[in-house]
Amino acid sequence: MQTGSQLIEALMSKFGAGIERWEEPSPGKVFLTIQPDILLPVAKDLLITYGFRFLVNVGSDEVLLNGMYVVSHIFSQDRDRLFCCVRVPVNPANPVIDSITPLISGANWAEREVRDMIGVKPKNHPDPRRLILSDDWPENVYPLRKGFAYDEKPEASPDNRVKMKKPPDGARTVPIGPFFPVLEEPAYFKVFVEGEKIVGCDYRGFYSHRGIEKMGEDVLTYNQICFIAERICGICGFVHSTCYCEAVEEAAGIEVPPRVGYIRTIMLELERIHSHLLWLGIAGHIIGFDTILMQSWRIREPVMWLCEQISGNRKTYGMNLVGGVRRDIPRELHPGMLDTLTTIEKELSAVFKAIQGDTSLHSRLRNVGVIPKDVAEEFCVVGPVARGSGVDIDSRRDHFYAAYKNLDVRVSVHEGGGCWARTLVRLDELFDSVRIIRQALQDMPEGNIMAEFDDIPPYKEAVVVVEAPRGEAVHYVMTGGDNRPYRWKVRAPTYPNLQVVPDMIQNEEIADVPISIGSLDPCFSCTERMIVVDRKTDKNCMTGQDLIRLSREKTKKLKMRNTH
């Protein structure tokens, strides 16, 4: 077991001269400021020697504080409950930094994002194209710099279209373009096929980039950001708002009453239940199994009504504020909640037994979309995608938040790495969530639901992770003056998961692509739309509708094969 101080000692003894400053504001969270030339050796040490996992990069404009741009690389170590945030100051006159993507592929998008938003270019990056900003955004205008106002709208400059990759020889391109019938949210995948087999893929997403971080820094106050954080994603909104509130509470040193933790835990687990049932329905719809769509969404409705009774709205509960929650869960609601949970558990068991023996589902899902364990670790995937490939990580057990320190979480890990393994992980989590809510209702202590606190001190940092239904969400907050944060960074769980798509669909059939991508449970804040272009005949042979039809026909074919 290693503590934060032991880690700092080990790093100081090796890199002493290069580390300018270190601090550990809360136990287990280490913040180091290092010189840019030792970034690669420090990152290598953390990743390989100490077994850390890369989370995200944060690019911050601290010119007003210390005259530099700062790129913070955040790593986490699940076994010892440690976070290590490595801050690298970059001179604004020459904004270049060493890229760590050659060390760990999971840093690919994070470094491109820093380039887009702050303008710090990663040296030796394998793919330094534009990632987030729109195709008509002018060059050299960086939104997250302090000189850029949040509502400034620069002139359109149409020549900055992202150059998509060219297909290899002999293959056709299938563009899956922004609007797709089954998967909400716009996104653009360009898939290269030879006949029926996939040989490559490229992706252009971020159609839903709304400038949330900039608004959080410029125009909204601490309490208002709780509500905008909830609308980052409509399905797992409470996760983001809890993560943000906990980060500010940690940075400011606010002690929340214990009852608050239990209320947040109950709402988080309710969200997990409704999110997994939603996914089950959508996955069934993609493979042509509309019965599952209707039945799982029917089972899901009582959860939405329950959330409405507790919080006033079916989703976007609006219950979190910095320092506590707005509404309590009074004792009169407990019997109703327990009844709903019992009904859901019963119906879920019936559904589970019914689909467990369904061999047509097995043949459709078992070896489809396989992600081997080493690929999963290389791209730092999170959530059920990682647990379905044998990687044992879960923030509820590894990094405590809300009331999870006092609750018993059973993490379900399956080998296999295909869509079926991920389905099993999600079904196990559903049953576990019901059990956790029952335990939390029983153990909930009495007390206040809002902490009393003074002004929030400026320029304090904190990192918090929360396990969303799709994986781990990371929020980094540096408090500022003027009742708003100086820098707020959000990393949604689908961010690393999407980076693994080209590797996952390589050598698969085109009909399996919708379900493979669907099994990642992409949080439609950024994905989908594919157009299939067959390179050989070079015409747009399929639309999104055709792709779904292909996916369903394959199910029929497999069913017929199994019955004969």
């Binding site: 900003l133 729109s134 195709d135 008509d136 955004w137 939104p143 850029f148 949040y150 509502d151 400034e152 709208k153 620069p154 359109a156 373009g177 922004p178 609007f179 019938p181 089954v182 909400e184 949210e185 716009p186 971020f206 159609y207 839903s208 980039h209 709304r210 400038g211 949330i212 900039k214 608004m215 509500f227 905008i228 609308r231 980052i232 994603c233 409509g234 399905i235 909104g237 939603l278 769509l293 209707m294 969404w297 029917r298 409705e301 709205n313 079916r314 989703k315 976007t316 949080c523 439609f524 804040s525 639309t543 999104g544 509708q545 779904i548």
Partner: protein
């Protein structure tokens, strides 16, 4: 006159194409919820179609981002006339929380001609059903603007 023509053309059942122009998905999930057994829009003949060419109405959710704008305009053109555009949710109706952010062009009515608005964050499935019923002319709308000025008190204070 256009209204009666519209009502006549949509007397039977209306086929809807749903699109997300940069939203958080809350409204999209509620739209799909309308098809599930508890709310069941299909008993009114409202069907969600997979291609805009078969659609009578376009349900748009989300504020319009710069990136999605060209695709959205192309989509609007591919829906055949006569068509209805319904903006679902607070983001589509007026831009929502991010109406003045750098990457957002405001509500859908800054980009397309919107016929009906269904506010809510997200609107309940029943509210969406009501909204489509208002769009078809089956029920009257239930809200009206409020303007208040304290004339009486001002007059007395000034006298």
């Amino acid at each position: 006159m256009f209204k009666t023509l519209l009502q006549k053309s949509f007397k039977k059942s209306i086929w809807v194409y749903h699109t997300n122009a940069g939203a958080c998905n809350g409204c999209d999930i509620e739209v799909i919820n309308v098809l599930t057994p508890y709310y069941d829009a299909e008993r009114f003949g409202i069907k969600l179609v997979g291609s805009p060419r078969y659609a009578d109405a376009l349900l748009v959710s989300g504020p319009v981002t710069r990136q999605v704008l060209p695709a959205l305009l192309k989509l609007y053109e591919s829906v055949p006339d006569p068509k209805l555009v319904i903006a679902v949710g607070s983001c589509a109706a007026g831009g929502g929380i991010w109406h003045d952010s750098y990457n957002i062009l405001g509500g859908v009515d800054n980009v397309l001609p919107v016929n009906y608005y269904i506010p809510g964050c997200p609107p309940r499935p029943e509210a969406i059903l009501h909204g489509v019923a208002v769009a078809l002319g089956l029920v009257p709308k239930k809200i009206s603007p409020v303007v208040h000025k304290e004339e009486k008190i001002a007059k007395w204070m000034k006298s």
